[in-house]
Structures are given as C-alpha cells and as structure tokens.
Amino acid sequence: MTRLGLVLMFVASCAAPEPRVVTLTPNADLGWRATPPALEPGLPFRGPAVQTGVLPNNMTVAVVERHRLPVFAIHIVIQAGSADDPPGSPGCAATYAELLCPGLTVNTTVDALTISATVLDSPDRILVKALQCLRDFSVDESTIKAARNAIDLRAKGSSVEAEVHETLYPEHPYGHLARGTKEGRSALTPSTIKQFHHDHIVPERIAVIVVGPVTLSAVKRWSDEALGNWAPTAVDRPLVPAAPEVHGQLRFLAQPGSPRVVLNAVASGVPRRHPDALALSLGSAIIGRRLNAGIDALDLRVGFASRRGPGTLRIQAIAASERAAELRTAIIAELESPTVTEGELDLARRDYRNRLPAQLQTGEATAGVLGALFATGLPLDYFTALPEKLATLEATDVTRVVRAHFDPDRLSFVATGDPSLLSELGASIGNASGD
C-alpha cells in the first residue's frame, strides 16, 4: 500500500462509527480476561477473483490480479497425465514431461502435466517459451535416454504410494504412480512419445494461469502471439473408469527393527466432479476428528485425495509396533457408527471455510489450486458457488456418503513395520502379501 493509501485509509477510518473504547489501568481488576472473546460468526468466504478467457484456438487463459508484490506465478496446465499413459507404457506422460521444456519445471500427476515458473519480471518471456515448447516438441532416442536416467535417479524404491495405487486400482489407469514403472519407461520409443504428444497436447486441453501484477488482456495477448495459429485437432479423452471393487487386501512393506507400525486403511472414492465429492471431503474431516478423539495413536490423519477419476480415501495411523492389530480393530470399531450429526457437520463446514483462504496466500499455491480445478474438469470459478454448496449440505447427505465409502468392508490396508507384524495383521485381515 502506498503512503497516500495509508492517509486515505486513515481518513476513511475516521469517518467510520466511533469504535468501542475500553480504558483500563494496569492494576485494574483483570478478571474479565478469563472470558475469551466471543467467537464471531464466520465471514462469507471470498475465493480468488479469477478472470478467465478463451483464445480463438480454444485454449483457456486465467488470471488472478495481485499487485502487492512484483512476483508472477505462471502455471500451464495440460489435461493429460499418467492416467493417459498408453497401455503397456506406464511412465510415458512422466517421460514426456521430462522432455518437454528444458530449464522449466514440469510436474506430472495422474490427471495433468503442469509447467510452472515464478519470476520477478518479464512473465511474457517465460510464458511464450513454455507455450512454444508445447508447439515445437521433439524427441529422439538420445533425449529419451537422458530423461529416463533423470527420472530413475529421482525414483525411490518400493513405496507406500505405489502399493496404495496397485492395491486400489488394479488394471486401471490409476494403477501406477505418475512416474510409471522402470520397465514401462525403458520400453518407450520416440514414436510412442510423439503419439502421446499428438493425442493430448491440443489447445482446448491447455490452461494458462497467471497470478501476479498482470491483466487478463496482457496474458491473452502473449498467449495468442505465441500459439494463436496453433490449432491441432483434438482426439477424445476417455473418462477415467470407475475403480474396481477391491476390499480386504493387505500389503506389507517390511522395515526390519522398526519400533513403529504405519497403517494405511484405504478405499477408492468418487471423482472430484461427482455431486458427492464435497460431502466426502467433509465426511473425511469428521471421521478424522472422531478417530483422533477415540484412538490413542502417535499420529492419525484422514484425507480424501480428489481426482478427475475415483479419488483415494485414506486413514493413516502411526503407533508403536505392539499395537498394530489393536490399531486396526480400533479404526474399524470407530467406523461402525457412521451417522453424522448436525454439530459435527457444522464444525467441519466451519473448518473447511476457515482454512481455505490460508491455502490461497501465495501466487504459486493459488495457481496450483486453479490448475487442479482445470485438471479435474471443474470450472475455474468453482469457489464462487462453494459457500452455497457448503451451506446446503445436510448431515443426512454426509452420513450417506460416509456410510458408502468408509464402510469397513471396503477397506484395504497398506502397512509398514517390522516383518514380525505381518502374520498378526494378516490374520486379522486376510489376503496378505509382503515383500
């Protein structure tokens, strides 16, 4: 804010009604301090002011103007992720991302590729460079090899995430991690990757999102100048199929000598665009609160990772090894009575509304949140309608959704701990496998 702004603010403040003045001396009776301030009712939620446009070639452009600091967050989101890997080629999207735009960060998720950069000035230069990478993409055997090596270097060994994907989504586009598998990446050829580019990189599946001191018209102009004449034909993007029916599986990752067990109870949820997705998010928060109140664990979290296709519900609990089986039993017991009360829903609704603005503080985070909307097929003005959706949600809706998705019979388990725990956990769950 400028100094002139401060003056104007002060003048405006003076014109406001006289504030309540409380005069106290340091030695006065301070018993009134024992009464905490009354909690004010929640303010109406204000989401980011997103301005959107569409270029003649159908590419989406979105801008959130923020003029306080000279920082530009640029995200170019492409609706193509590892779920679009060709059959038999897990890792194609990740390898394509590695090759796409040397010098810029390109992230791969199951649903999208995102080119991102944060700069202090000349955002047009980075934006044009990134868009031209999309138009002028090329690949050959030697660049694939370098990309493959780079991904291999970053890839860890066996991971809980990989086990969760393989457990919940067998024979499904979400059945592998975004980076794919080493075997899948090894088998990639230039023609496979060129075909991926041809099938998915089209303007109508791209959104340019910029947050910073910039206008929509400027970003549209730069994008149009870079890619205005580029209009390759789109092919249909298939819907992500429903998740297979899976339940009662146990996968165990051995960590010899570990004094702790990490138990992940997982199930598939609904796609983010599904009418029940918001109820499932709030239901997860309510279940999390209940489990934390009822189970003595070192750490316990409940979350719903929403996606374009069926997302993942997860209860992750950490406890001392000797409590492994008891932990599982306690989680199941807490899920036996899924009726959600109005009080629980009010609390969850308030928390959801309270915490959302904090996730939109930085340009990078805001662009990321908007990018996730685009990647999952939601409108970029999603937050405008959110308060009403939250308000109209009823406890019976959340109860129905919780009952359907947190059903103990639908849960599978991925655990890590000392190998001696496997038989104990396996006996209580069945269908166990370990490494």
Binding site: R33, P36, L43
Partner: protein, 409 residues
C-alpha cells in the same frame, strides 16, 4: 495521539517507490509495547507475530538454554488460559502456521487465523505476555523436553558437536553467542523454576516486545482491540542492553572434533558483517555463488545482530579444496546478477505469506529500526563482481576457524 502521530509519520515524506511492507508503527503509552499494523484485505486472514527481544545472547552465566526453554514454557498456560488450552483454542478457530521459535537474538510466537477470529488470538498472546503461570510440574516437563531436544539436535546429531564447536571457537566464553542457542547440558539440567520466573519477569515484558499484525482488518478497530488486550498489561522496564564486543581472530584456529560419523567433514568459518548491512548482502550472494558453482562445497552467511558468521563446508579431511576454490574461482557479472536475483525472488516469494510478512516487520523494526525497511533490504542485493572480490579478499586464513570432524574409529 500516538497512533495518529504514527499514521502521520508513516504517511509523511518518503521515497516515491511503492512500499513492499507498508505499516503503521506506534508504542503503547501504558507499557511500551511496540505495535506494527499492516492492513491487507486481499484474503480474510490475519497473522499475528509477537517478538520478544530475548535470545540465547541475553542469558546470564549459568542460565544458558533458558531462552530456548521459554520457547516451550510459553505454551504451558497463563492465568486466564489453562495449561493445554492454548493449542486447543487455536485449533478451534482454524489457526494455521502456528508455532514459536527462538534464536540467538530473539524469540517469536505466531499464528494466522481467519480474520473474524482475530480477537481470540490477541487474548491468547496478551495473556501469556502478561500472566504466564509457571508450575513446577510444567517447568520440569519442559526442562526434560529441552534436554532431549539438545541431545537430539546437538549432542547426538551427526556433526552437531562440530557445529557447536564452530561457534564456541568464533565466540569465546563470555561472548553472547558462545552458548549457541541450546545452551550447555549442565546449565539446562541445573535450571530452577525461580530462575525461569526471574528470566520471564526480566525479558517477557511489553516494553521488550513488539506485535506485528498483517491482514484483513480495520486499523482503528485494531487499535481498540490492542488497547484492550495489550494496553492493560502490567508495565515493566525493558532490560538494559550490554555492549557486545567481538574480539577479532588474528592467528587462525584449527580444531578437531571426533564424532561417530561416517565421513570426515571440514567447516571453515569467519566473522562476517552483521545483518541487514550492505556487506551482509554481499556475503549472502557470495555464499549463493559458491554453492551454485561447486559440486562439493556448501557456503552460508548466517546473519546475526552483532556479528554474522560465514561458513564454507566440505566433506573432506582437509580445507585444501576450500582454499583452492576460494583462491582461484572467478565469477562473471551474469553469475553474480543471477545469484542476487535468486535471493531477491526467494524473499519476495516468502513475502506473499502474511505470517512471514508479519515476522519481517518485527525483524526490520528490531534490527533496522524501521519496520518498512523491506525496500532497502532488497536494494542491498545490487551486488557487483568487485563487491564479491573485495569480500572474498577478507576471508583470510589468519582470521578463520577450521573445525575438522574426524570419524570415530
């Protein structure tokens, strides 16, 4: 009147450039608390950041570790906020980014809340500023936690004893930075509840604190709330400050520390320019340049209030590699500009977070004497190759400390 004066000061003549961190600074007449307000209505959030001008540098002989212990004790309950309730209340109002930290020069506590919950946060912070209640049980519990933390972070952590030895060698016994934040194990173990209470009365008074508030609020309403919750706190004089004299190193120090680690490591350290000075920025850019160019060296400028510390570290049993690199490496103007730019970008990215902004307002108010120092701070990074070369020339062998970590057999 003081508030009006602060507003007029904030809006009086000054540089025409846009202020990165605009703020209204004033002092409460009843108890000397410094208040910094920076309204920003862009999101319905408010960050409150409380600084106490006390760190390990302000501990007396025999009480090292007390400043860090207070980082824990301040969450143990106050007269009107029962023990254990602080975090419970924070959770219930949707607070994020909540914590407290201590350093050699200061202690801070902070949280960000939805703007309509702000008053609750003022209640919590003001109550522990004025009415912290230390019980024997709470004190003993946190003393044990501090001992465990020291053991984990310093005694048993790989290279922890070596890092401590760097500071002890640069700053001999009697220098405020000698205790290196966590203090000595023996001192922490011998601390008493009475000593802690005295430390609290001496340092945790409004006149030795500042409150920075950033976010979605009306300044006049905020002033009323500050008057209510903080203006009513008991008065108390700020502790007197002693002058800090740092004896320069003139004939090099070379020490060995045997540790149960796998790889030998060498760390070379120098006294360097104090924080927020132009040369401090040059040192920071030089550290960035070294770390970027070298595959094996990591350099750091640790900026401190009285005198900073510049270190270069390598996994090696000899400083020869560091010496050769520093003696022979030349940086281009483009490299220097790129390194400075990266530091500026990190700083501006961080300033997007209102909690960080509140912390910087306190930082600048305390160490630069001007809460709005951000613009000048950024300008310090207009560093040239010549600036780098001049600073590098000061890193001589006779002025340095070398700490060699030798793996235990």
């Amino acid at each position: 009147m003081m508030f009006l004066a602060a507003l007029l000061t904030a809006t009086s003549a000054g540089p025409a450039e846009r202020a990165l961190l605009p703020g209204i600074t004033y002092t409460l007449p009843s108890n000397g608390l410094r208040v910094i307000l920076s309204p920003d209505p862009s999101l319905p959030l408010v960050a409150v950041n409380v600084w106490y001008q006390v760190g390990s540098a302000h501990e007396r002989p025999g009480e090292t570790g007390l400043a860090h212990l207070f980082e824990h004790l301040m969450f143990q309950g106050s007269r009107h906020v029962p023990a254990g309730k602080h975090y419970q209340v924070l959770r219930s109002i949707g607070a994020v980014d909540t914590n407290g930290t201590s350093s050699l020069d200061r202690t801070n506590f902070f949280a960000t809340v939805p703007s309509h919950q702000l008053e609750t946060l003022l209640w919590l912070e003001s109550d522990r500023m004025g009415f912290l209640e230390l019980t024997d049980e709470g004190f003993r519990r946190q003393q044990a936690a501090a001992i465990a933390e020291r053991r984990g972070r310093q005694n048993a952590a790989p290279y922890g004893p070596s890092n401590e030895r760097v500071f002890q060698s640069l700053f001999p016994v009697g220098h405020p930075y000698h205790s290196y934040l966590l203090g000595s194990q023996a001192d922490i173990e011998s601390l008493t509840l009475d000593r802690a209470r005295n430390f609290y009365r001496r340092h945790f008074v409004p006149a030795n604190a500042s409150v920075a508030i950033v976010g979605d609020f009306d300044p006049l309403t905020m002033k009323t709330l500050i008057d209510r919750w903080f203006g009513s706190l008991p008065n108390g004089a700020a502790p007197t400050r002693r002058d800090v004299v740092t004896v320069p190193i003139t004939s090099g120090i070379d020490v060995r520390v045997i540790e149960p680690v796998e790889r030998p490591r060498v760390q070379v350290a120098w006294h360097s320019p104090k924080l927020l000075t132009p040369l401090d920025a040059v040192a920071e850019v030089y550290a960035e340049l070294i770390t970027r160019r070298s595959d094996t060296l990591v350099a750091q400028q640790r900026s401190l209030q009285h005198v900073s510390v510049f270190t270069v570290t390598e996994f090696s049993d000899t400083p020869a590699g560091i010496d050769t690199f520093l003696r022979t490496t030349v940086f281009t103007p483009d490299e220097v500009a790129s390194a400075a730019r990266a530091i500026r970008l990190r700083m501006l990215q961080a300033l997007q977070n209102i909690g960080y902004r509140a912390d910087r307002l306190n930082h600048y108010a305390r160490f630069a004497g001007d809460a709005g120092f951000a613009n000048e701070d950024l300008a310090r990074y207009s560093v040239t190759v010549e600036d780098i070369e001049r600073f590098a020339a000061t890193l001589t062998q006779n002025r340095r400390v070398v700490v060699r970590t030798v793996p235990a057999p």
